[in-house]
Structures are given as structure tokens and as C-alpha cells.
């Protein structure tokens, strides 16, 4: 039996185990939609193509599987760009399928023609322009393979109408990618050097990022930290790698990170960076970031290693294989040291008499010293932490502070929900104050900082993890960017609870204008609709809370109400996120206005 190109696309998606496709139809992709109608694959119509790509992104981040979205040619495809760029920055596996005008019309400025292949090249991991139905089996297989392996990322497949209408004679799918062979196993020598560096360090800090989440290696990272007794800080993308309340967890580093993570990284003698890319929001001024530390950097992408800071021990590897290997070596070395210490005694005086000779004596001494120093190091971080102002809630007038909403949400959900945070102040308060206990429980646009992300991403997250409580945190600016997706949420009765941090401002920009532009405000007051009425108009339950005394009751009511709920949390209009590392400063130069 021969299939049309369009029918093959849908059959292939089924075979890949794709559960849901997010998208928006149009002229050049009609054949594929027709094939989906015949097949009955689950399809979610968003209200804008940007919503579709964010939903696929949220699905991918929540599940670890490849998210799929579709759009038509021209404007449909260009509306995907922001979401593709967002997924590219945060290494999220997405396959985007776009319709394209007939091949013979390419380059003629046909109706709804855009150079999708050219436009999306810099914002995808890879992309394809299909030249005939016969290419579809190989191209689709390669697209899913590239998106979901190595350093994950978005892949776009542009399908002209004639390829969708054409016949697929052979379904033999060729995975011939001679230039794509991600390194999975780290070099044994480098892994050993990494382990030795960790064991020899007196003041180590482990830094875990989104790469640990992508590799499914959070438990391994935790085991490594515990084996050594080394503190762990995370990037924004790494939140949840360590349970929030784990004694070795220092929380997030960076501009709005915890003061003690920033304090520790500035003073550490070894930085073990796993799956991080040294984003400027995390490092601050690079010269002041871990200035006295040796750097061990493990990443699956060789181009990330040495990009911004030179690593003494560079390791190209999948963290899923590298972290267990390093841990095994660390345990082996520690046990060996224990034996040495046991044999030679603990004091320098005992060394002279040992039959093992001077070398084991010196080694045991060094091991004992490092072990002792690590305990002192943890104690000194704990002491600094005890003196830090936390939670960093700085009231700016009467009413609720947004941080109080996060703390109340943490109490009500016991930190078990999946938070989908938008971008800006709301995102930072959520990252600071909501306890993320597991990976894939804090979804946010980190690298690109895409406002409007949270609402549509929550759709994908909820569909991918139907048993999880999905909570959206968004500001009134970001929510208004993609609020039409409220209709999608209502249509599918997704039990998403939306907490709108409504301060009537583009808060983060307002904060920067206040702090760094002499309080000269421009374009930061933003009007909005009556959000409770808006929720009602879309068929959601709307609620409003504007005082701390009603907060717990409102949140409890929202979480127990079936179906989607939007809670308009009216907060202090001029609250700022503190503490902050001012732009261009080092992480040790964090300021807290309340002090």
C-alpha cells in the first residue's frame, strides 16, 4: 500500500509515540490536517502559533519527550520563531512541522510564502526543507533523532504541498547522519581527573544546570554530592535537581540567586560545573565568578566547554553516564583514603613510623585535611546563610508582596506542584521562594526570557503530565501577551491554576528604571482588563485576592476548585526583587536594599 506524504507524516508521528500535536492550520498544510482527521491523532488547536510552539515546549520540558507542533507556511511559520528560539536557548526537544507553498512556487513570493528554512536556521538545532514525498521517511526520522539526542533542541521540517500530496513509495527511513555523533561516554582519564579534583578540593561547589535535567541525572548528581559532602548550587534551569530542602542544596546562583550560593561560589577552590553554560545572569562579571577555583566542566556540547571560562578538567560527556562514573571513582578514592588514614593514624606524628613509606602517609594526611576542610566549608556557608535575610521580602507600601504569594503557594501545595513561571519579577520570586523538589517541576523560559511563555507552556505540561498539579505564575504583562490561550485551557478543561501577579506594571523593567535609570519611568505602567471577568468570559473560574489575610483561604479554594482557575493576585505595584547582583558586578557584590 502506498501512502501520501501527508498520511505518512501522521503515521510516522504515531509510530514515534507522539501523544499530542499542538498547532494551527492553514492553506499550505491542509493535506496533513486532512490526514490527521482520518487518523484521529490527538490535536490541540491553540489560538496563535506561538501558543502551539510554547505548548510543545512545555510538554517536552515536563515529560522529557519530544514535543510536536505544526503551522502553515508564511505567517504560521514566522509565528513559531520566538518559541523555536526559546527552545533552542534552553535545549528543549521539539519537532516543528510547517507547511510550505508548492515547490514550483518557491522563490516567486507566492501567497503565504516565507523562507521558513532560511529564517529558522539560526534558531533551530537543525532544519530541513523536504524536496519530495520520498524524502519524508528519512527526514522525519532524522528530525526526531536530532531533536531528542545529544544536546537537545528544536528541529523544523518544512514540507511543501506537493511533498504532502506526493506518494511515499518506500518507507525505509535512513538515519544517515555522518556529521552527527554526540559523545556519550566521557574520556576515562578526564573522568578520573574530575573525581580526583573533587576529592582533593577543600572548598568545592557543584553547579548543576539544565543539562542534568535533560540527561535524567538528578539522582546521580545528588548521590555524588552526598558521597563527597559537597554543596550544590543550581542555575535557573537546574532548579529541582536537588530537593529544595536538602541540606547540601544552596539554591540558585546568580543575579537573583541566594546570597549564600553567590558567597560560596566566589570563595570556592573547585567548581564542578555539570550541564551549565555560564549564562551572564548566573555568573555576573566573569572575572569575579569563582576567581580562585579550578574548573571542572562536564557538558555534552563540546562548544560550551571553554566558551566563557577555561576549564582545568574539560569533560565532553552525557551526564547520565559521566556522573555515575565520577561518583564511583570518588567513592573509590575516598575509601582508599580512609584505609590510608586508618593505617597511618590521623596525625602527622604517626606518619614517620608507618611501613607504607612516606607517600601514603602524605596522601592520608592530605585526604584527612581535605575531608576536614570540606566540613568546615559547609559550616562556614551555613554560618553565612544564617546571617542572610531570607525570605527576601521587602515591602513597598501596603498590600501584598508577591513573595508572600509564593510562600503561601508553597504551603498550600507542599511544594509538590509543577510551576510554570513566566518571565520577569514573577519568575524570580517564584525561583527564589517556591521550593522545587524534583526535576521537571519548574518550567520557565531561561535563556531567551520569553514573556508570554507560561500560559501556553502550561497547556503542554498539563497534557504531558495529567496527574500533576500545574500552577502558572505570570505577571500582568506576560499574561496579556498570550491570554487568548485561556480559551484553549477552557476548551480542554485543563485543571491549571493560574496565579496572576498583578502589579499593573512591567515590574522588572520598572525595577531597572528605578535602580539604574534614576527613576525615570518609561512605558512600564500597563493597564489590563478586569482579569476576573476575563477569566469568566473564557469560562474559567476567576478569583481575586489583595490582602495577605485572605491569601491562604483563596489559594486553598482555587486549588480545590475543579477545572481551570485564574486568581488575580493584586500586589504592591512597586515591589522589587532583592537581593540583586547589579549588572556588570560580580556575584560577591550582591546588594539588598533592606540592609
Amino acid at each position: 500500500m502506498t501512502l501520501s506524504g501527508a498520511a505518512y507524516v501522521v503515521k510516522f508521528l504515531r509510530e514515534q509515540g507522539v501523544e499530542v500535536v499542538f498547532g494551527y492550520p492553514g492553506g499550505s498544510i491542509l493535506e496533513i490536517f486532512d490526514a490527521m482527521a482520518a487518523d484521529g491523532i490527538r490535536f490541540v488547536l491553540t489560538r496563535h502559533e506561538q501558543g502551539a510552539v510554547f505548548a510543545a515546549d512545555g510538554y517536552a520540558r515536563a515529560t522529557g519527550k519530544v514535543g510536536v507542533c505544526m503551522a502553515t507556511s508564511g505567517p504560521g511559520a514566522t509565528n513559531l520563531i520566538t518559541g523555536l528560539a526559546c527552545a533552542h536557548m534552553d535545549s528543549v526537544p521539539i519537532v516543528a512541522i510547517t507547511g510550505q507553498v508548492y515547490s514550483h512556487l518557491l522563490g516567486t513570493d507566492a501567497f503565504q510564502e516565507a523562507d521558513t528554512f532560511g529564517i529558522t536556521m539560526p534558531v533551530t538545532k537543525h532544519n530541513f526543507l523536504v524536496r519530495g514525498a520520498g524524502e519524508l521517511p528519512s527526514v522525519l526520522r532524522q528530525a526526531f533523532h536530532i531533536a531528542g539526542t545529544g544536546r537537545r533542541g528544536p528541529v523544523l521540517v518544512d514540507i511543501p504541498r506537493d511533498a504532502a500530496q506526493g506518494v511515499v513509495r518506500s518507507e525505509k527511513a535512513d538515519l544517515d547522519l555522518p556529521g552527527y555523533r554526540p559523545t556519550e561516554e566521557g574520556h576515562p582519564l578526564q573522568l578520573r581527573r574530575a573525581a580526583e579534583a573533587l576529592v582533593g578540593a577543600h572548598k568545592p561547589v557543584i553547579w548543576a544546570g539544565g543539562g542534568v535535567v535533560a540527561a535524567g541525572a538528578a539522582a546521580e548528581l545528588r548521590a555524588l554530592a552526598e558521597a563527597l559532602g559537597a554543596p550544590v548550587m543550581t542555575s535557573l534551569m537546574g532548579l529541582g535537581v536537588m530537593p529544595a530542602d536538602h541540606p547540601l542544596n544552596l539554591g540558585m546562583v546568580g543575579m537573583h540567586g541566594t546570597p549564600w550560593a553567590n558567597w560560596a561560589v566566589h570563595r570556592c577552590d573547585l567548581l564542578f560545573a555539570a550541564g551549565v553554560r555560564f549564562d551572564d545572569r548566573a555568573t555576573g562579571k566573569l572575572e569575579r565568578f569563582a576567581p580562585d577555583a579550578q574548573l571542572v566542566h562536564i557538558d555534552i556540547d563540546p562548544a560550551e566547554i571553554g566558551k566563557l571560562l577555561k576549564a582545568v578538567v574539560p569533560v565532553v560527556a552525557d551526564l547520565g553516564t559521566a556522573l555515575p562514573a565520577v561518583r564511583a571513582l570518588v567513592v573509590q578514592i575516598l575509601n582508599g583514603n580512609q584505609r590510608l588514614i586508618g593505617r597511618s593514624g590521623t596525625g602527622p606524628a604517626a606518619d614517620a613510623g608507618t611501613t607504607a613509606g612516606a607517600e601514603p602517609g602524605a596522601a592520608s594526611e592530605a585526604a584527612a585535611a581535605a575531608d576536614h576542610s570540606r566540613k568546615e566549608w559547609l559550616a562556614s556557608i551555613a554560618a553565612f546563610r544564617a546571617g542572610s535575610r531570607w525570605p527576601p521580602i521587602t515591602h513597598a507600601g501596603p498590600g501584598m508582596h508577591p513573595g508572600e504569594v509564593m510562600l503561601a503557594l508553597a504551603r498550600a501545595s507542599e511544594g509538590k506542584a509543577t510551576l510554570v513561571a513566566d518571565v520577569g519579577q514573577n519568575q524570580m520570586w517564584a525561583a527564589q521562594l517556591y521550593p522545587v523538589h524534583a526535576p521537571r517541576r519548574f518550567l520557565t523560559s531561561g535563556g531567551l526570557g520569553t514573556m508570554g511563555y507560561a500560559l501556553p507552556a502550561a497547556i503542554g505540561a498539563q497534557m504531558g503530565t495529567p496527574d500533576e498539579q500545574i500552577i502558572v505564575i505570570a505577571g500582568d504583562g506576560g499574561l496579556q501577551m498570550t491570554s487568548p490561550e485561556l480559551a484553549t485551557i477552557a476548551e480542554h478543561r485543563l485543571p491549571i491554576k493560574i496565579f496572576l501577579i498583578n502589579n499593573g506594571h512591567l515590574g522588572m523593567v520598572r525595577q531597572w528604571q528605578e535602580l539604574f535609570f534614576k527613576e525615570r519611568y518609561m512605558a512600564v505602567k500597563i493597564a489590563g482588563p478586569d482579569f476576573v471577568k476575563l477569566a469568566g468570559a473564557y469560562g474559567l473560574t476567576g478569583m481575586r485576592v489583595d490582602s495577605v489575610k485572605d491569601l491562604d483561604a483563596t489559594i486553598a479554594s482555587a486549588l480545590s476548585t475543579p477545572g481551570p482557575v485564574l486568581v488575580d493576585c493584586v500586589v504592591q505595584p512597586t515591589a522589587n526583587v532583592f537581593p540583586i547582583v547589579p549588572p556588570g558586578k560580580g556575584v560577591d557584590q550582591m546588594i539588598d536594599k533592606a540592609e
Partner: protein
């Protein structure tokens, strides 16, 4: 510092755009870029002349490797390599100066490929020093137009870009006539085994 990179790529639509776009987006410098087919159908070789310190060059090579369609990147700058560029020079030459120009052309083993009453077109092939030398010699006569191919390069010795490098021939290039193959040979084998 100037570097010559030889990059083996799959001959797929858009691959030139990908490489050029990568250099543009990451603010890497391109002095010249040439691309054409290889001994094997479906693969192209790019010769890219670029500039950068060690850190920049490391990034350029890693970012090139990251491209799905890139199979192999070789920096021919530190390795023994032959580098050649083809240049067409339209130079003013009337009855009086034609003989002088022709003499220079002969000295450089260049060729005259077009003659007009008031000008000549000179074809010259060589490495950078030779090209710069003939240009400086012809400049006083009045150069009307210069068209350069950009350099292409290949490593000396038996090893090829398609194979893991074998020990290259230590033979230094002859200084007076670099068009003569260095002993050690030029017969690079085109095996694609063990790519990348």
C-alpha cells in the same frame, strides 16, 4: 592570527548558508571562503581563511563541528600544507608599457589570458606572498580590476582530510618554486573511513 581551515561538509541545501550564518552570528571573521565538490559525490570542501586568537579559533572549530552537516574540520595553519589562490588582474598596458608588463608576468610564471589595445588580463596562481608580490609589481602600471578566488588549501603528505591524519611529510616547501610538489607526494587517498 590568520588561519586556514579546511572543512568537509555534506553537500546539502543550505549548508553554505549555515556556515556563513554561523560566522556572522557569532562575529567570527571571514577573510575568504571557497566551496566546491570533492573527490566523492555528495560531499563538498570549504576552505575558510579566518582570523582569531587561540580561544576564538577553538570556538570556531567547535561551532563548525556542531553543525549537523559538518564532518571534519582541519586547521591547516600549523600543519604542512599547500595553499593556492587564483587571481585575475586587469592591468593597464599600452604599446609602451606592454613589454614591461609581459616581462613581469613571465618572471612570476603568470599568464596573459586577454589582450586589448590599452590593457591586459593576467592570470596568476600562487600563495599569498606571490600574489602580493605580483600585485605590487603591477600596481605602478595601473590596475583596473582584481578578481580573487580566495585561497584553497590541502595538507602535504599522505594523510587526507577524510581520514585520521597520518604523520605528514616533514618536507619543507621549496622556496623558489612552490608549484613543484614537495617530495613526499600529493597523492592523497580519498577514503572516508573513520570520518570525524
Amino acid at each position: 592570527m590568520r588561519h586556514t581551515l579546511s572543512v568537509l561538509v555534506e553537500d546539502k541545501p543550505g549548508v553554505l548558508t549555515r556556515i556563513a550564518g554561523l560566522f556572522g552570528r557569532r562575529a567570527f571573521n571571514i577573510d575568504s571562503l571557497t566551496v566546491a565538490g570533492t573527490e566523492r559525490p555528495g560531499y563538498s570542501r570549504m576552505t575558510i581563511v579566518t582570523r582569531g586568537d587561540r580561544h576564538v579559533m577553538e570556538q570556531i572549530e567547535k561551532q563548525l563541528y556542531k553543525q549537523i552537516n559538518v564532518l571534519k574540520v582541519s586547521n591547516l595553519t600549523s600543519a604542512p600544507a599547500v595553499e593556492r589562490e587564483l587571481v585575475l588582474i586587469k592591468v593597464q598596458a599600452d604599446g609602451q608599457s606592454r613589454a614591461a608588463v609581459t616581462q613581469i608576468v613571465n618572471i612570476f610564471r603568470a599568464r596573459i589570458v586577454d589582450v586589448a589595445p590599452r590593457s591586459l588580463v593576467v592570470e596568476v596562481t600562487g600563495d599569498r606572498e606571490k600574489i602580493e608580490a605580483i600585485l605590487s609589481m603591477l600596481r605602478p602600471f595601473g590596475i583596473k580590476e582584481v578578481v580573487r578566488s580566495g585561497p584553497v588549501a590541502v595538507s602535504r603528505g599522505h594523510g587526507s582530510l577524510a581520514m585520521p591524519d597520518e604523520t605528514p611529510s616533514p618536507q619543507a616547501p621549496s622556496l623558489d618554486d612552490r608549484d613543484v610538489p614537495a617530495a613526499g607526494d600529493v597523492a592523497a587517498e580519498s577514503s572516508f573511513a573513520g570520518m570525524k
